[in-house]
Amino acid sequence: MRCFQMPPQVFRVVLLIFAIGVSYLVARTLLTPASFHEYGFYRGAALAEHTTRHEPVFAGKLACGVRHPDVLKTLAKGGHKNLSCEACHGVVSPQHLTDPTSNMDKPSGAICLRCHEASPSRPAGFRQIVVKDHYAEKCIECHLPHEPNEVP
Protein backbone atom coordinates (compact mmCIF):
# COMPACT_ATOMS: atom_id res chain seq x y z
CA MET A 1 0.00 0.00 0.00
CA ARG A 2 1.41 3.32 -1.03
CA CYS A 3 1.10 6.40 1.11
CA PHE A 4 -0.61 9.47 -0.29
CA GLN A 5 2.00 11.48 -2.11
CA MET A 6 1.66 15.22 -2.24
CA PRO A 7 2.11 16.68 -5.73
CA PRO A 8 5.48 18.46 -5.89
CA GLN A 9 4.08 21.93 -6.57
CA VAL A 10 1.64 21.69 -3.66
CA PHE A 11 4.41 20.40 -1.43
CA ARG A 12 6.61 23.40 -2.28
CA VAL A 13 3.78 25.82 -1.53
CA VAL A 14 2.97 24.15 1.77
CA LEU A 15 6.64 24.23 2.67
CA LEU A 16 6.84 27.91 1.80
CA ILE A 17 3.74 28.78 3.81
CA PHE A 18 5.12 26.82 6.73
CA ALA A 19 8.46 28.66 6.50
CA ILE A 20 6.74 32.03 6.38
CA GLY A 21 4.52 31.11 9.32
CA VAL A 22 7.44 29.93 11.44
CA SER A 23 9.60 32.94 10.64
CA TYR A 24 6.67 35.22 11.54
CA LEU A 25 6.25 33.51 14.90
CA VAL A 26 9.97 33.72 15.57
CA ALA A 27 10.05 37.40 14.61
CA ARG A 28 7.06 38.06 16.82
CA THR A 29 8.65 36.42 19.80
CA LEU A 30 11.90 38.30 19.28
CA LEU A 31 10.47 41.72 18.49
CA THR A 32 7.59 42.07 20.93
CA PRO A 33 8.78 44.43 23.68
CA ALA A 34 9.37 42.70 27.00
CA SER A 35 6.82 44.68 28.99
CA PHE A 36 4.04 44.41 26.41
CA HIS A 37 0.79 43.03 27.91
CA GLU A 38 2.04 43.86 31.42
CA TYR A 39 -1.01 46.01 32.15
CA GLY A 40 -2.83 45.79 28.84
CA PHE A 41 -2.22 46.00 25.14
CA TYR A 42 0.74 48.36 25.40
CA ARG A 43 4.30 48.57 26.61
CA GLY A 44 4.02 48.54 30.40
CA ALA A 45 7.41 50.23 30.66
CA ALA A 46 5.88 53.28 28.96
CA LEU A 47 4.13 54.14 32.24
CA ALA A 48 7.38 54.51 34.15
CA GLU A 49 8.99 56.26 31.20
CA HIS A 50 6.23 58.84 31.24
CA THR A 51 6.86 59.65 34.87
CA THR A 52 10.43 60.62 34.03
CA ARG A 53 9.89 61.95 30.52
CA HIS A 54 10.18 65.56 31.68
CA GLU A 55 11.25 67.13 34.90
CA PRO A 56 8.45 69.16 36.46
CA VAL A 57 8.84 72.79 35.46
CA PHE A 58 6.35 74.38 37.82
CA ALA A 59 7.50 73.71 41.38
CA GLY A 60 4.06 74.11 42.88
CA LYS A 61 2.73 76.21 45.72
CA LEU A 62 3.79 73.69 48.34
CA ALA A 63 7.42 74.05 47.29
CA CYS A 64 7.23 77.83 47.62
CA GLY A 65 5.69 77.40 51.04
CA VAL A 66 8.81 75.67 52.29
CA ARG A 67 10.73 78.92 52.28
CA HIS A 68 7.95 81.50 52.10
CA PRO A 69 5.49 80.25 54.74
CA ASP A 70 4.78 83.80 55.90
CA VAL A 71 3.71 84.87 52.39
CA LEU A 72 1.41 81.91 52.07
CA LYS A 73 -0.08 82.70 55.45
CA THR A 74 -0.81 86.24 54.34
CA LEU A 75 -2.14 85.05 51.04
CA ALA A 76 -4.46 82.53 52.67
CA LYS A 77 -6.38 85.32 54.43
CA GLY A 78 -7.48 87.19 51.34
CA GLY A 79 -9.31 86.86 48.07
CA HIS A 80 -6.25 85.48 46.33
CA LYS A 81 -6.00 82.54 48.70
CA ASN A 82 -6.42 79.99 45.90
CA LEU A 83 -3.88 81.62 43.66
CA SER A 84 -0.69 79.74 42.93
CA CYS A 85 2.57 81.67 43.36
CA GLU A 86 3.76 80.74 39.89
CA ALA A 87 0.56 82.02 38.28
CA CYS A 88 1.80 85.60 38.84
CA HIS A 89 5.52 85.23 39.56
CA GLY A 90 6.26 82.80 36.78
CA VAL A 91 8.03 79.48 36.92
CA VAL A 92 10.50 78.93 39.74
CA SER A 93 13.82 78.77 37.97
CA PRO A 94 16.70 76.61 39.20
CA GLN A 95 18.70 79.80 39.78
CA HIS A 96 16.02 81.07 42.13
CA LEU A 97 16.56 78.08 44.36
CA THR A 98 20.22 78.96 44.85
CA ASP A 99 19.95 82.72 44.53
CA PRO A 100 16.54 83.79 45.86
CA THR A 101 16.75 87.28 44.44
CA SER A 102 17.14 86.11 40.88
CA ASN A 103 14.81 85.32 38.07
CA MET A 104 11.38 85.69 39.61
CA ASP A 105 8.94 87.92 37.77
CA LYS A 106 7.93 90.98 39.68
CA PRO A 107 4.24 91.17 39.01
CA SER A 108 3.10 94.17 37.01
CA GLY A 109 -0.30 95.62 36.26
CA ALA A 110 -0.50 93.61 33.04
CA ILE A 111 -0.57 90.41 35.06
CA CYS A 112 -3.44 91.71 37.20
CA LEU A 113 -5.36 92.77 34.13
CA ARG A 114 -4.97 89.39 32.49
CA CYS A 115 -7.67 88.29 34.90
CA HIS A 116 -9.36 91.50 36.03
CA GLU A 117 -9.81 93.50 32.82
CA ALA A 118 -13.56 93.72 32.23
CA SER A 119 -14.89 91.32 29.59
CA PRO A 120 -18.45 90.35 28.75
CA SER A 121 -17.27 86.75 28.59
CA ARG A 122 -16.15 86.64 32.23
CA PRO A 123 -18.50 85.39 34.94
CA ALA A 124 -20.54 88.33 36.30
CA GLY A 125 -19.55 87.68 39.91
CA PHE A 126 -15.85 87.96 39.13
CA ARG A 127 -14.16 91.27 40.06
CA GLN A 128 -13.47 93.22 36.89
CA ILE A 129 -12.51 96.77 36.04
CA VAL A 130 -12.40 98.80 32.87
CA VAL A 131 -8.85 99.93 33.30
CA LYS A 132 -9.09 103.16 31.33
CA ASP A 133 -12.04 104.32 33.46
CA HIS A 134 -10.29 103.28 36.63
CA TYR A 135 -6.70 104.48 36.76
CA ALA A 136 -3.93 102.86 34.74
CA GLU A 137 -1.98 99.63 34.45
CA LYS A 138 -0.34 100.41 37.77
CA CYS A 139 -2.50 98.32 40.07
CA ILE A 140 0.18 97.64 42.68
CA GLU A 141 0.64 101.32 43.38
CA CYS A 142 -2.50 101.02 45.48
CA HIS A 143 -3.41 97.33 45.80
CA LEU A 144 -1.47 94.61 47.58
CA PRO A 145 -1.57 91.48 45.42
CA HIS A 146 -1.04 89.22 48.43
CA GLU A 147 -3.82 90.95 50.37
CA PRO A 148 -6.34 92.06 47.75
CA ASN A 149 -9.04 92.59 50.39
CA GLU A 150 -7.02 95.44 51.90
CA VAL A 151 -8.65 98.28 50.02
CA PRO A 152 -6.47 101.39 49.94
Binding site: Y39, H50, T51, H68, T74, S84, E86, L97, P100
Partner: protein, 257 residues
Amino acid sequence: MVATVGGVLAGLLALPAARALKKKFSTSPAPSGYDASKHKWLMCLDVDKCIGCGLCADACKTENHVPEASHFFRTWIERYIIKKPAPATAAARGEVLVDSPNGGRGGFPPALVPRADILKSFFVPKLCNLCEASPCTQVCPVGATFDTPDGAVLVDPSYCIGCGFCIQACPYGCRFLSPVTRTAEKCTLCYHRITRGLLPACVEVCPTQARVFGDLKNPLADDPLQAFVQENKVNTLKPHLGTNPRVLYANLDKEVR
Protein backbone atom coordinates in the same frame (compact mmCIF):
# COMPACT_ATOMS: atom_id res chain seq x y z
CA MET B 1 7.24 93.74 50.56
CA VAL B 2 6.48 90.76 52.70
CA ALA B 3 7.55 88.56 49.84
CA THR B 4 10.90 90.30 49.62
CA VAL B 5 11.56 89.98 53.33
CA GLY B 6 10.52 86.34 53.22
CA GLY B 7 12.71 85.77 50.22
CA VAL B 8 15.76 87.29 51.86
CA LEU B 9 15.15 85.36 55.07
CA ALA B 10 14.78 82.16 53.15
CA GLY B 11 17.92 82.97 51.23
CA LEU B 12 19.82 83.14 54.49
CA LEU B 13 18.79 79.59 55.25
CA ALA B 14 21.85 78.60 53.27
CA LEU B 15 22.48 76.16 50.51
CA PRO B 16 21.78 72.74 52.02
CA ALA B 17 18.12 73.54 52.32
CA ALA B 18 18.07 74.76 48.75
CA ARG B 19 19.69 71.58 47.58
CA ALA B 20 17.23 69.48 49.48
CA LEU B 21 14.41 71.51 48.01
CA LYS B 22 15.80 71.22 44.53
CA LYS B 23 16.12 67.51 44.97
CA LYS B 24 12.63 67.18 46.24
CA PHE B 25 10.84 69.19 43.63
CA SER B 26 12.78 69.27 40.48
CA THR B 27 15.36 66.62 39.85
CA SER B 28 13.92 63.70 41.74
CA PRO B 29 13.03 60.65 39.73
CA ALA B 30 9.42 59.60 39.95
CA PRO B 31 8.78 58.15 43.36
CA SER B 32 9.51 54.46 43.17
CA GLY B 33 6.63 53.86 45.54
CA TYR B 34 4.06 55.11 43.04
CA ASP B 35 1.53 52.37 42.30
CA ALA B 36 -0.68 53.10 39.31
CA SER B 37 -3.33 50.67 40.48
CA LYS B 38 -3.93 52.66 43.68
CA HIS B 39 -5.07 55.85 41.95
CA LYS B 40 -7.76 57.03 39.58
CA TRP B 41 -7.13 60.59 38.55
CA LEU B 42 -9.73 62.87 37.09
CA MET B 43 -10.06 66.49 36.10
CA CYS B 44 -13.39 68.26 35.93
CA LEU B 45 -14.20 71.75 34.75
CA ASP B 46 -16.56 74.48 35.84
CA VAL B 47 -17.42 76.67 32.88
CA ASP B 48 -18.87 79.36 35.14
CA LYS B 49 -15.54 79.81 36.88
CA CYS B 50 -13.29 80.15 33.85
CA ILE B 51 -12.20 83.75 33.29
CA GLY B 52 -10.25 83.10 30.10
CA CYS B 53 -6.91 84.32 31.47
CA GLY B 54 -5.13 81.61 29.47
CA LEU B 55 -2.63 80.79 32.21
CA CYS B 56 -3.46 77.10 31.94
CA ALA B 57 -2.82 76.90 28.19
CA ASP B 58 0.41 78.80 28.71
CA ALA B 59 1.54 76.67 31.64
CA CYS B 60 0.79 73.49 29.74
CA LYS B 61 3.06 74.51 26.87
CA THR B 62 5.85 75.39 29.28
CA GLU B 63 5.47 72.37 31.50
CA ASN B 64 5.22 69.80 28.72
CA HIS B 65 7.53 71.42 26.16
CA VAL B 66 4.69 71.50 23.66
CA PRO B 67 5.79 72.92 20.28
CA GLU B 68 5.34 76.69 20.19
CA ALA B 69 3.28 77.01 17.00
CA SER B 70 -0.36 77.96 17.32
CA HIS B 71 -1.70 74.61 16.20
CA PHE B 72 -0.25 72.38 18.90
CA PHE B 73 -2.19 72.30 22.16
CA ARG B 74 -2.72 69.78 24.88
CA THR B 75 -5.18 72.14 26.53
CA TRP B 76 -6.77 75.31 25.25
CA ILE B 77 -9.60 77.72 25.97
CA GLU B 78 -12.52 78.55 23.71
CA ARG B 79 -14.56 81.73 23.89
CA TYR B 80 -18.24 81.45 23.03
CA ILE B 81 -20.23 84.55 22.15
CA ILE B 82 -23.94 84.05 21.66
CA LYS B 83 -25.42 87.09 19.97
CA LYS B 84 -28.86 88.50 20.60
CA PRO B 85 -31.35 87.20 18.06
CA ALA B 86 -32.06 89.40 15.07
CA PRO B 87 -35.19 91.45 15.88
CA ALA B 88 -37.51 89.80 13.35
CA THR B 89 -36.52 86.20 14.01
CA ALA B 90 -38.38 85.60 17.26
CA ALA B 91 -35.62 83.17 18.19
CA ALA B 92 -34.42 82.66 21.73
CA ARG B 93 -30.79 83.17 20.81
CA GLY B 94 -28.83 84.52 17.92
CA GLU B 95 -25.70 83.53 16.06
CA VAL B 96 -22.94 81.70 17.94
CA LEU B 97 -19.35 82.82 17.47
CA VAL B 98 -16.46 80.77 18.77
CA ASP B 99 -12.79 81.63 18.81
CA SER B 100 -9.59 80.52 20.47
CA PRO B 101 -6.78 82.83 19.36
CA ASN B 102 -3.53 80.95 19.93
CA GLY B 103 -5.47 78.55 22.12
CA GLY B 104 -6.26 81.42 24.49
CA ARG B 105 -2.66 81.41 25.61
CA GLY B 106 -2.21 85.14 25.79
CA GLY B 107 -5.69 85.78 27.07
CA PHE B 108 -8.41 86.97 24.72
CA PRO B 109 -8.46 90.19 22.72
CA PRO B 110 -11.64 92.28 23.09
CA ALA B 111 -14.53 90.65 21.24
CA LEU B 112 -15.32 92.02 17.79
CA VAL B 113 -19.01 91.94 18.65
CA PRO B 114 -20.24 95.08 20.43
CA ARG B 115 -21.23 94.45 24.03
CA ALA B 116 -24.80 95.53 23.30
CA ASP B 117 -25.21 92.70 20.77
CA ILE B 118 -24.00 89.98 23.11
CA LEU B 119 -26.68 87.90 24.75
CA LYS B 120 -24.30 85.64 26.60
CA SER B 121 -20.64 84.86 26.52
CA PHE B 122 -18.38 82.45 28.35
CA PHE B 123 -15.06 80.60 28.22
CA VAL B 124 -14.65 76.84 28.02
CA PRO B 125 -11.36 75.13 28.85
CA LYS B 126 -10.70 72.04 26.75
CA LEU B 127 -8.42 69.08 27.29
CA CYS B 128 -8.37 65.34 26.70
CA ASN B 129 -11.78 64.06 27.74
CA LEU B 130 -10.34 60.85 29.21
CA CYS B 131 -13.04 58.78 27.53
CA GLU B 132 -14.19 55.57 29.14
CA ALA B 133 -14.49 54.10 25.63
CA SER B 134 -11.71 56.08 24.07
CA PRO B 135 -11.86 55.97 20.27
CA CYS B 136 -8.19 56.95 20.08
CA THR B 137 -6.94 53.88 21.92
CA GLN B 138 -9.42 51.74 20.05
CA VAL B 139 -7.99 52.64 16.65
CA CYS B 140 -4.26 52.64 17.46
CA PRO B 141 -2.85 49.85 15.28
CA VAL B 142 0.09 49.01 17.52
CA GLY B 143 -1.08 49.71 21.06
CA ALA B 144 1.02 52.84 21.35
CA THR B 145 -1.79 54.78 23.01
CA PHE B 146 -3.54 53.35 25.99
CA ASP B 147 -5.73 53.96 29.03
CA THR B 148 -3.54 53.71 32.10
CA PRO B 149 -4.82 51.97 35.24
CA ASP B 150 -4.72 55.33 37.04
CA GLY B 151 -7.00 57.17 34.68
CA ALA B 152 -4.78 58.89 32.12
CA VAL B 153 -4.70 58.25 28.39
CA LEU B 154 -1.10 58.24 27.24
CA VAL B 155 0.91 57.90 24.05
CA ASP B 156 4.06 55.80 24.11
CA PRO B 157 6.45 58.07 22.23
CA SER B 158 8.93 55.31 21.58
CA TYR B 159 6.34 52.96 20.14
CA CYS B 160 4.00 55.28 18.22
CA ILE B 161 4.42 54.90 14.45
CA GLY B 162 2.94 58.32 13.71
CA CYS B 163 0.09 57.16 11.47
CA GLY B 164 -2.28 59.82 12.78
CA PHE B 165 -5.26 57.49 13.02
CA CYS B 166 -5.86 58.40 16.67
CA ILE B 167 -5.85 62.08 15.75
CA GLN B 168 -8.57 61.44 13.19
CA ALA B 169 -10.50 59.32 15.67
CA CYS B 170 -10.53 61.85 18.54
CA PRO B 171 -13.85 63.67 18.30
CA TYR B 172 -12.58 66.52 20.46
CA GLY B 173 -9.48 67.59 18.53
CA CYS B 174 -7.29 66.92 21.55
CA ARG B 175 -4.41 65.27 19.72
CA PHE B 176 -1.77 66.47 17.31
CA LEU B 177 1.21 65.05 15.48
CA SER B 178 4.29 66.56 17.07
CA PRO B 179 6.80 67.88 14.55
CA VAL B 180 9.53 67.14 17.09
CA THR B 181 8.89 63.50 17.93
CA ARG B 182 6.83 62.75 14.78
CA THR B 183 4.41 60.91 17.04
CA ALA B 184 0.93 61.68 18.33
CA GLU B 185 0.86 63.83 21.44
CA LYS B 186 -1.83 64.76 23.87
CA CYS B 187 -2.67 65.75 27.43
CA THR B 188 -1.04 63.34 29.87
CA LEU B 189 -2.72 64.88 32.95
CA CYS B 190 0.90 65.91 33.59
CA TYR B 191 1.71 62.30 34.35
CA HIS B 192 5.25 63.23 35.39
CA ARG B 193 3.78 65.61 37.98
CA ILE B 194 0.86 63.68 39.40
CA THR B 195 3.05 60.64 40.02
CA ARG B 196 5.31 62.92 42.11
CA GLY B 197 2.40 64.25 44.13
CA LEU B 198 2.19 67.55 42.26
CA LEU B 199 -0.87 68.98 40.56
CA PRO B 200 -1.09 69.16 36.77
CA ALA B 201 0.42 72.46 35.61
CA CYS B 202 -2.88 73.87 34.35
CA VAL B 203 -4.59 73.12 37.66
CA GLU B 204 -1.64 74.56 39.56
CA VAL B 205 -1.87 77.95 37.88
CA CYS B 206 -5.65 78.21 37.43
CA PRO B 207 -6.59 81.25 39.55
CA THR B 208 -10.30 80.45 39.89
CA GLN B 209 -10.50 76.69 40.46
CA ALA B 210 -12.29 76.29 37.17
CA ARG B 211 -10.19 73.14 36.85
CA VAL B 212 -10.79 70.64 39.60
CA PHE B 213 -8.39 67.76 39.99
CA GLY B 214 -8.52 64.78 42.29
CA ASP B 215 -7.99 61.11 42.91
CA LEU B 216 -11.16 59.05 42.90
CA LYS B 217 -9.50 56.19 44.78
CA ASN B 218 -7.96 58.35 47.51
CA PRO B 219 -10.18 61.38 47.95
CA LEU B 220 -8.78 63.85 50.43
CA ALA B 221 -10.92 65.08 53.29
CA ASP B 222 -11.51 68.38 51.50
CA ASP B 223 -11.27 66.91 48.03
CA PRO B 224 -12.44 69.51 45.51
CA LEU B 225 -13.57 66.80 43.14
CA GLN B 226 -16.05 65.40 45.63
CA ALA B 227 -17.48 68.84 46.28
CA PHE B 228 -17.63 69.49 42.56
CA VAL B 229 -19.74 66.45 41.76
CA GLN B 230 -21.99 67.03 44.76
CA GLU B 231 -22.69 70.65 44.00
CA ASN B 232 -23.07 70.65 40.24
CA LYS B 233 -25.25 69.21 37.55
CA VAL B 234 -22.70 67.98 35.09
CA ASN B 235 -22.50 67.16 31.43
CA THR B 236 -19.97 65.75 28.98
CA LEU B 237 -18.94 66.80 25.48
CA LYS B 238 -20.56 65.06 22.49
CA PRO B 239 -22.32 62.44 24.65
CA HIS B 240 -24.13 61.04 21.58
CA LEU B 241 -20.88 59.55 20.27
CA GLY B 242 -20.82 57.01 23.08
CA THR B 243 -17.23 57.79 23.99
CA ASN B 244 -18.41 58.33 27.57
CA PRO B 245 -15.93 61.02 28.63
CA ARG B 246 -14.81 60.90 32.24
CA VAL B 247 -14.07 64.62 32.20
CA LEU B 248 -17.19 66.32 33.50
CA TYR B 249 -18.24 69.88 32.78
CA ALA B 250 -20.44 71.94 35.10
CA ASN B 251 -22.65 74.65 33.61
CA LEU B 252 -22.07 73.54 30.05
CA ASP B 253 -24.03 75.25 27.29
CA LYS B 254 -25.53 73.18 24.49
CA GLU B 255 -23.45 75.03 21.93
CA VAL B 256 -20.19 73.62 23.28
CA ARG B 257 -18.96 70.71 21.22
